[in-house]
Symmetry: D2
Subunit: 339 residues, 4 copies
């Protein structure tokens, strides 16, 4: 047991708990030595039930534990950059949930600290590890569709988040579309250079009053010459809609939604099949395990993590450009933002 990789988890909300349980159930050679949460007392029973012995209120106790080699930063977004810096300075490898921050300067400071410390840094873009999207990427990389011409992402949530969340979310482009910005980079193998946002408040006027939008079509230009489009809605009546398509000189690859079953009911009313899996926890269940595996592997084998610091920065920049494009109703180049 002494050969185990010892890690600490900072933040035990929904996603922190999910990672903890996935690790306990799937990685026998990884030990969660400690978990920290500002509501430490509330998570005690749960943490003990999965065998975590050390439960702290202050994440610094994890940072200061020399035995801990790696940390998972699952706390609220406004703490990501600061904890990243502290963990890097303490020589710990870092898995950080997205986004690193809403502020580019703070993201860069965090990435600088990571670089200086020479620790592994992986950002939580779990969808890259989804079976469907990984297959699309593989087919594209293998040249099966030739040169990519058009990248399309449809990404719609089953229902809008509470309005209180909307207000602190950083806006739809940073909170929700950020995953899609990562996805188009991943699938195209290229960088977004310019973005034009066509957006509206069609789901709930309260979202508009909170200064956000809930429906968008975002047009993209890539460095390799390809073009792309993302469409978003905060509320799809039929459920979580997660489709992508890459079209190129030799063909196209598409993925449709996963469903709970392949059952089809044939009646006088019509031919009825399953709705998509409910939401991201159900839809991307396996990807959360795979991203952990890849993170641990990169530490154990001393290799580059599959989603790095730049992958954490770029989608935030694209999100900011998308927002600016919406506000000014004009295409915005990403390099307008990168001074």
């Amino acid at each position: 047991m002494d050969n185990n990789l010892k890690i600490g988890i900072i933040g035990a909300g929904r996603i922190g708990k999910l990672h903890a349980e996935n690790i306990v159930n799937n990685f026998r050679n990884v030990e969660i030595k400690a978990i920290a949460d500002i509501f430490a007392d509330k998570i005690e029973d749960w943490a003990k039930s999965i065998g975590i012995k050390n439960i702290y209120k202050d994440y610094k106790e994890i940072i200061n534990d020399e035995e801990i080699e790696a940390v998972l930063i699952c706390s609220s977004t406004d703490t990501h950059a600061q904890i990243t810096i502290e963990a890097a300075n303490a020589g710990k490898h870092i898995f950080c949930e997205k986004p690193i921050d809403f502020d580019v300067k703070k993201i860069k400071e965090a990435l600088d600290a990571v670089e200086k410390a020479g620790v592994k840094f992986q950002i939580g873009f779990n969808r890259r590890f989804d079976h469907n999207f990984k297959k699309v990427r593989e087919l594209v990389q293998a040249g099966k569709i030739g040169d990519p011409h058009i990248i399309k992402v449809t990404s719609r949530d089953p229902q809008a988040p509470p309005i209180e969340y909307v207000k602190v979310s950083g806006g739809m482009f940073i909170d929700m579309t950020i995953h899609d910005f990562d996805m188009v980079r991943y699938l195209s193998g290229s960088e977004v250079e310019e973005v034009y946002t066509n957006a509206a408040v069609l789901v709930d006027p309260l979202i508009g009053e909170a200064g956000d939008v809930d429906t968008a079509i975002i047009s993209l230009k890539f460095k390799n010459g390809a073009i792309g489009v993302i469409d978003n809605s905060r509320s799809a009546a039929y459920g979580y809609d997660q489709r992508v398509e890459v079209f190129g000189s030799l063909g196209a690859v598409t993925v449709s939604n996963d469903t709970d079953t392949t059952a089809v009911l044939h009646t006088g009313e019509g031919i009825i099949s399953d709705k998509p899996k409910y939401f991201f926890l159900e839809r991307y269940k396996d990807s959360f395990v795979v991203e952990m595996k890849e993170f641990f592997d990169s530490i154990i084998n001393d290799t580059e993590p599959p989603v790095t610091g730049i992958d954490g920065l770029k989608p935030v920049l694209i999100g900011m450009a998308a927002k600016k494009s919406y506000e000014e109703n004009r295409p915005v180049r990403i390099d307008e933002l990168t001074l």
Copy 2:
């Protein structure tokens, strides 16, 4: 037989011949009294084989034949407006292939003549009569998806036209996307107010040299608040790709491609199904018959044709705005063009 509707066809290229044969095979109460083509001698055998007795070089012989009640204008685009005016002045009902013209002023003159003459005028946007798209429209109109939020059209040709054609085509937006502009108006039940074009030359550099593009993502804003997107390519390796999706407050309706068969081959290589029907003649075969039926019905029953003059004008305006948007890389409002 004296009760038959007598018509004349002007222009016996591919589409003129198609209409002629469809009429002979499907409308027993319609008689093609004459057909005119500048290469009259070349079509003689064909015309006689389907029972058309009068074959003219000069379309004016059709305009001047008082027995002929309606004309189909299937000649080259640059003649549509002028022939429309002459036919309207002669009191003939008109079915005119799209586009009416590349010039808005000439379109308006033609529509003015039609209005003054009080004749029926139908424009050849045949896709409105396609079984799939008609069903989408019906479901949207019936409120099955609630208020439309996002309208998406994928429209890709199996292969680019000859470069000589590209040069005189009016450009991809007027030649090809025009059908999609009509489609989004038809499906949304609303008018396009603004357009932003993201386009590129990815299929063939010769198309770029000819001053045109071959790949595009066109973002749209509708009067009713909905947003939309069209993606185009001049060349899809797997064939003619014609899909639409309307997403709204209560759900979505999608249509996929038609295929020749439902056969699926299951082998060690994979699960392989049919490619889309080859091109527009195969894919929209039935729609060309239905649009004729609707045209004849509007004459016989003295009702409004299902695709009118304004439906001929609007897509040209959107196409021009799309081109301007591409040239200036900014969103362009349709009313910038409508002075």
Copy 3:
């Protein structure tokens, strides 16, 4: 016009009318010189409206018309064999609706007359000309699935026929399954040697009282070693279900139902697509035209028709074996019936 193939149609019920209209609309070089029906007065308006000039009460007037080269026998089943014999003796080519007769002896007499006269004889198994099934056959013949091992046919009607029809239909196996018996011969490229019938009355007890069944699973052994199964129902709530599957050493080919559109409605209730096309007239619409084309081609080019006398006899024999199997609850070899 004198070069036209002149034909006569005997019987102007639903199927006779269908053929007549298909011929008028699709075959310009074929002239329906006459039509005969015992209710000649009732079809007069219709026949004239499609340009048929000679309408007879007595089919012998067609037989005796020396100018008529071919006849379509679309009268009631009990007259098929007799008219076939008379037409053959008069040297006319024959297209005969299925079944030739319920009585094997009479079928053989008819086929003998045809053979002696040396005329073309095609039986109306239209499903062989269906786009889907033809593709299955082509893939099988091309060796794409290797040696056929299992042939499966699902064939269910949308609703049971009137009980009065059931009583005179010859029973489900001869009336309905006969098409499926033809299909398995067509798809397997082999002959059925033995049949075991598992059948029940589950749709309507009146069908049972009429001495028939309405639901069946029929197990088959083929001469080439393959095995097969047909399942039938007289009533499928979701519509006309017509699927086949051929499974072999290298894979399988399946076809699913045709639908009116590819539209899919996505709502909170589920993902809903079109039911199958309503019934055989809609589902097999094109096949009725193609079988005529093939018949006329075989006359014009003096080639073997694609569905010959033996193809008319075999399915009746299999149907009789299926019935015997049901009555005796044991597998029955076809050659038990062929003395």
Copy 4:
């Protein structure tokens, strides 16, 4: 930890190991106290790596351990009945892999011992816990398709087992089709009364030489009046084919194969999607966890297990009837075998 359910596993071949790992990863309140295998030394490293402390050569050590409340019998089939009897006599709850035995008398003795001891007894028909089939069952039970008329199961393995295995497998009907016999009982909610087998050796002549068949169509009659059919092949080139269909008075429910991804590649060659998941370990992965959960729940809550002794007996009887039917080429009633 003292509240844990303590179990022992007898037999650590592929399926025994699978259960062990599933338990360790998924059931924190269940402790595998011991595992027994005749090749105990070969499994030691593996067993320790997942935290099992006691590794025995002789399963009796598990039977005799009073702390162990339940056993999983995963040893070779010929030992199932005997171990069941011993475990039952020792008062242990039993999960037994299928089949209980090839001999009905021995099965009955085992079931008698279980009944006398009053212990829980669950048989390993894992497919009942598969997401797809469970949904079919639920829809049928909920009356969504009305009264069941036709039950269809397609069950084809990706490749034939080694010939040495075939020789000791009990034959295809007991080894492979047994799952399908269970499935039709589960889906129909009724008992099979009669079976007729149409089978052949088409995959590999060596299978025939070993006295077995490799391809079959098995026709079934159910007590509730429904009829059914199973088709089997030992070798499907495109992979593991596991589909079912229940057709009834109000409609039908079908399930198709699960795939690794929803990716579809569209090229000039065709539209290509994923093959089925490779084989039962991949395809039914989750069902093995669920069946354990249900077994443990039945112990903890003292409820009836979901698959009981009679469910272990009946499919063996049907399998024997299927074999007899094949040998005698006649339908065989199950009650011919139940004296």
